[in-house]
Symmetry: D2
Subunit: 292 residues, 4 copies
């Protein structure tokens, strides 16, 4: 690949774009609030005034946006990618969206003569910075092959999931698991604390056992300090859970643990914790605790 | 330490006793069905005809039994440990029991002039064989110090949790987390499969991401094969969940994910899967699936 | 009122239209499958070939349809109400739809110069036949006043709920309560039966106590016989629950009992019971029962 | 019957004893805090200094106490019923206890040469005053026949449920249904209010529809006023729910709505509402609401 458009250079998009640049692929960056795109100039990116302008002459337009509405606007809006004179032949959507949206998007992109690669990612800020994301790629094999150099720059692995929509479904799957495990940690630590156990001893046991994982390592300091600075903001997980539960319902899949997690996320958001890390459901549990 | 009594040499107890023997500590073994104790003779254990006989002259009596009823019988029954002429000064209960039982047990053991170390373990068969358990020890520091050589033979680490009861509470905490994470994997893989994802691709994503852990590695072959041979039998997790939810209730701790897991475990047991691994809640989800 | 169009003369719509006719108001009836409209001819209705034709010259167009898609088609489609030369000044939507749909519908109807009365009903087949429905009316007071003669023919009471959308919200509220109470009866009777109680004795106790209500009277024969012939088909309640839970989520209202009911409805649908009465969640409970 | 001992003359027991007195049966009353028994003197009761003294010469000892511990103390404790020189031949336990306790109690009473009638009641304060309770009687038919005159004084109906334990199981069944319906009303009204509906309109719809029942009539003023003065204290329902869920678990009966209700009751108790009416779970829902 020689050049891509990178549309959406926020918390995740910026380090992903940097890794693409570092691999020798040119990047035309655009972001809704331009200052975040301009920060990439020192890494060698060209800053574009619109998605259309970023996409002109690119081999692929990569979207890393907040959800379906933003993707719609960036691709199909005024000054969107498809308003360009020569839109790129491939659109790569790496934003988290529901599978049914991705399937419809593949058709809409196809109607405009281009091909959609539906490719959300597993991994948050640190793997994004380290180029260690897992790319959940779906769509025509040839299109995925074509953008694989960019994927290789951003991730440690590309898992091919099937037709467009499958990558988004895979993202629903892994984020459901993430939400349930995180909720489990919060629930277990909360119970232990009410039984009089020290947080430090609990973290020691958790991180020495069969469920020890990067997620629990990352969140351990939050349980120690009682502060939940956002790594993965609770409001984003809440948004994702809405997609996940809709997907589960459409697939006919029961999701009792997902529902339990969702209700705690909602409660935590209602307590004003939406901008905290999603581990802050711990506080929602505390608010439900029976002290009688 | 020179000699301990090991009471209960079943699936977990036998390899634990072997590791104690291998460390140079003599073991007098007893098991309700004697044949399981006799299997340890070739490892150098003495086989005793009763808990009382095993405990005579031992520095500590270690229990690794199925639950409160068995512990009661082995300690306080006819031919139980405390019917011995000279019962050991320390009783180490490594069986999974609820914290309130452990607290009461400490008092009952104390009334008989001995000291209870409440020390269940985190880890199942493989770490038991490898001497890599985590020992969740609680009780008087001096008593824990006294039995630490045996703990060091069985585990990679002893986490000191507090007074008697705290070790059992820690076990409730870690098994709650285990049950929720396992349930999360089953729920996520089930949803993914109904969305058309391949199991292999899902396992690849799970084991490459932030929640990758030994538990999910161990269970991956079950999801591949659809067979759930027992590593941790579902019926044992179901029993543990009853202790856990009672503990949560007494501690005033909400446990919504635990309740969701419990209900699936019960359903799976009702489907005849009690002797399968606890990952078999996957089948209970499938039985709830909405195919309409 | 002299004349209304009645669009949708199915299980509920037909008896409602008959009561309107009986009150002396002329009815032009239309139904997607025409035979159901023709059945009203002997009651004095005129049968129309299209919604547009039914609506011509009517003072109001009343919709009693399966949901948003059907309402959209009947009002705004080809040959829809608003394709008529002189569409009626008032549209009364009595179909069950989510409140946000109703609010948007009010705007869309307004753009076409007409006024929406959002007026779903509380009550099922028997009160529909008996003219004993409760009309959950919302929208401009003047428009409700104008159609009150038709409401009076169909119902025993009109509850004025507020602006358009409020009637639909009220319907969500009452159907949530209906679903939870029905689920409670199924859960309680199921538990009792597993405790060895006779169904007859349980029904006697239920119908003699503080929760005795028409709903439980109506369903009692189903629990006696184990047959669940549809009074309110499970699939319709399942559809309604999707609207209800979406409404709850948008309103920021937790709905734990609603979620529990929803999951049982889904499971029952997956068991092939979608065409049974919604009391058939009893069977889903039985399928979850722990017989181990 | 000529004479009974009435043990426990609290909120429920006092009016029940009054109705027995009014029917012409003599009552020897005892209550832990004696002043509540003395209040019955003006109704013609004899006040006894102990359960044993009350029971002397009575044809039956009726218990209306707070639970298993109180029943144990009153029957088997020092100065308990069975410490009397001539204990009565029949013990009628009308307290709410779990079925397994009742079955064991039948055996223990039998060992002392007496017969247990396990007969809790459906209905709270008002029906107790009005003699309109439903008596959930179980045990030997002859014993029930013998005490039927007292039951007829207290209740409008005696439902014979089976052997001892069955009455308690019936009580679990009806209180599960009560808890779920109450929770449903709270959940529905809460959702409706967040959708902007007026409480008055909602109560109108609820009390005009298929689920209209005495329970909802009784609670309506609480939703109007936002005050939850105890008719059935939340802490009592919480205690009952523990019995109910244990019964459900032992019977192998899933109770998802019961679990949801239980968790809200616990949260409400944790919020300091334990002495309010159990309708106060409404406040727990509000505390979970997502305002973000």
């Amino acid at each position: 690949m020689r050049k891509i458009a990178f549309l959406g250079t926020g918390i995740m998009g910026a380090p992903m774009a940097r890794n693409v640049l570092a691999s020798g692929i040119a990047v035309a960056a655009w972001n809704r609030s331009a200052v975040k795109a301009q920060a990439l100039e020192e890494d060698g990116a060209t800053v574009a005034a619109s998605p259309a302008s970023a996409a002109s002459g690119a081999e692929a337009a990569v979207c890393m946006l907040t959800g379906p509405e933003a993707v719609d606007a960036v691709l199909f809006g005024a000054e969107g990618v498809f308003s360009a004179a020569a839109p790129p032949p491939i659109v790569v959507n790496m934003s988290t969206v529901p599978p049914d949206y991705s399937r419809a998007l593949a058709a809409r992109v196809g109607e405009r003569g281009a091909t959609l690669v539906d490719a959300p990612v597993s991994g948050s800020l640190k793997p994004a910075i380290d180029g260690q994301l897992v790319i959940l790629a779906s769509g025509p094999e040839g299109a995925i092959d074509a953008v694989e150099p960019a994927f290789a720059a951003m991730g440690k692995k590309t898992v091919r999931c099937g037709d467009a929509g499958a990558g988004s479904a895979m993202k629903m799957m892994i984020n459901l698991l993430l939400a349930v495990c995180m909720g489990g940690m919060a629930e277990a630590v909360h119970m232990g604390r009410r039984c009089g156990l020290s947080t430090e001893a609990m973290l020691d046991v958790i991180l020495s056992g069969a469920v020890a994982c990067k997620l629990f390592e990352l969140k351990a300091p939050m349980f120690r300090s009682g502060e939940f600075p956002p790594q993965f903001p609770l409001k984003h997980m809440l948004k994702d859970m809405r997609f996940i539960l809709r997907t589960a319902d459409e697939a006919g899949a029961p999701a009792p643990a997902g529902h339990a997690a969702f209700q705690l996320l909602r409660q935590a958001a209602g307590m004003g914790l939406a901008d905290n890390d999603f581990a802050a459901t711990f506080e929602a549990l505390a608010a439900r605790a029976d002290r009688d």
